[in-house]
Symmetry: C2
Subunit: 307 residues, 2 copies
């Protein structure tokens, strides 16, 4: 059975996401202490893949994932998962809400349920733990009365009961996770794919605008952009880009070669099905057929068959 | 004496940054429990301004700042501060490094000194607290042996001593903070200024590239870009942009009016001196004089004085 790494400890949102990312095959999940350690295990071949957060407001470590993917040997994402930011309140059996005087969790999780706590447990004081799962562990050990946890946590702490679920101050917030492995055969295009790259460009006026124009000229829809400073390379900037489409698509391939010409470095970080399955809308001028017809036309001209 | 809000508790990096942001006037610093509460105190007039993190990998809450600035009544940044990500190790007087068995801090701070701890305190186990300052408080209360803290923390816990300082796994990492107040007279241009805006554009192919081209055509150098989803407005995207220059500069004013024409919403988030004081380089075609000459030329033509 293949082993899959994830950012531990067991019982966190990342474990829950990694289960979702590996739903279609039997896998043994192995927790690692940091994202870089989990990805190092993928690079060394110790595990087949790793589940890692990329946009996760609950327990952080998102810059760690992007940084770790673009340091050392290349890795690519092959699957995407979205999890709603909704928590359970776990406690010991028989405890009444009015008896709860301490609530433990990761500081970011506590910040995201502040209003709920004020309304439902106004007398309780909050206690920080190193992860949402560590909060549940501390309650199981008798240190605190209740924990704000990921829904998966209760499976690891069967001595606890769910006192409330679906806890969220903000509706519809989601966190995003990727299954990351060593380069190899790519996932098949599904018509509803996302491609992620990291591009390094010189810190000159207009280079970013030109790079994005290369994408838009080919009808490529950007879904995320984030600049991150490059400490070790002065005068250069790094951009993480997500856009609709698969590297196997003609318009995406054409756009990527343009980026490669313009950028000092382009990391290909994967083409994978979008978790929300929303199909890419492709302009007629950027369709597979349009690219095929125009390539054939040029070939004919170059061969002297057409003028 | 004016009161200035900051994200508490006292003794954190945000307190340290807020001191730096208010170095040029006498101010009484008041801690608030969250960034939204600190900014609400500015909006209501309870305090003059607030120190808030915008790029801070230590204790998080950066999305909270950007979200809170673009929700409710407008606020603008008037001053910027950069702090190195370097920690102190605090403990009780007389304790030897070999006697330290527990080290407390915010989980993100612990993650950023992991290597240092492994090398210098290999036998110690880490304990999470809700902030770096709460770690120092817990050591002062006798709960743990040592704390990883902001350099300012020791001033609040005079019973502790500094066992090590300048602790950092990554050299040169910095966090960025802004002093935020209600709109009013802007800081004077210094020639080394930054302007921050948040622009909402429709989620169509090319709108971002066009927006950035408006900036680059006027020689405006982008220093940061980040997309953030807009939950409540489907089909629109929000971008936080930082660029060199002051809204009083002709090229920046011209670029902002172009953004205003293109975007459904543009929040002006301030023009303020850059903390690193690096002067903006301005192309001859985007200089104040070039804008003045060309505006005068058009005026003359429109008045029939020139053809």
């Amino acid at each position: 059975m293949p082993q899959i790494a994830y950012l531990g400890p067991p019982g966190t949102f990342t474990e829950q996401a990694t289960r979702q990312l590996t739903w279609d095959f039997d896998a043994e999940l192995r927790p690692f202490e940091t994202v870089p350690l989990a990805l190092a295990a993928v690079r060394s071949g110790m595990v087949l893949a790793a589940g890692a957060p990329v946009e996760n407001s609950v327990e952080g470590s998102v810059p760690a994932t992007l940084d770790a993917m673009t340091t050392d040997e290349p890795l690519v994402a092959v699957q995407e998962a979205l999890l709603p930011v909704q928590f359970d309140l776990l406690g010991r059996p028989g405890i009444a809400m009015s008896e709860i005087s301490t609530v433990a969790s990761h500081p970011h999780a506590l910040a995201q349920v502040r209003r709920w706590l004020a309304e439902n447990l106004p007398g309780a004081s909050v206690r920080a733990t190193s992860s949402t799962a560590a909060g549940a562990a501390a309650v199981a050990a008798g240190e605190f009365d209740a924990a704000i946890s990921a829904p998966v946590a209760i499976e690891h702490y069967p001595s606890l009961v769910r006192l409330a679920s679906g806890i969220a101050d903000v509706r519809d917030a989601v966190t995003r996770f990727l299954l990351v492995r060593r380069p190899g055969a790519l996932p098949d295009p599904t018509g509803a794919d996302r491609t992620s790259v990291c591009a390094v460009i010189s810190d000159e006026v207009g280079t970013l605008a030109e790079m994005l124009t290369e994408l838009s000229l080919r009808g490529v829809n950007l879904s995320r952009i984030e600049s991150r400073p490059l400490r070790e390379r002065f005068g250069e900037y790094r951009f993480f880009l997500d856009f609709d489409g698969h590297v196997a698509d003609a318009r995406i391939g054409d756009a990527l070669t343009a980026l490669r010409r313009r950028c000092s470095t382009v990391w290909f970080l994967g083409s994978y099905p979008k978790a929300d399955r929303s199909p890419a809308s492709v302009r007629p001028t950027a369709s597979e057929q349009a690219f095929q017809v125009s390539a054939g036309w040029l070939e004919d001209i170059r061969a002297g068959r057409l003028a």
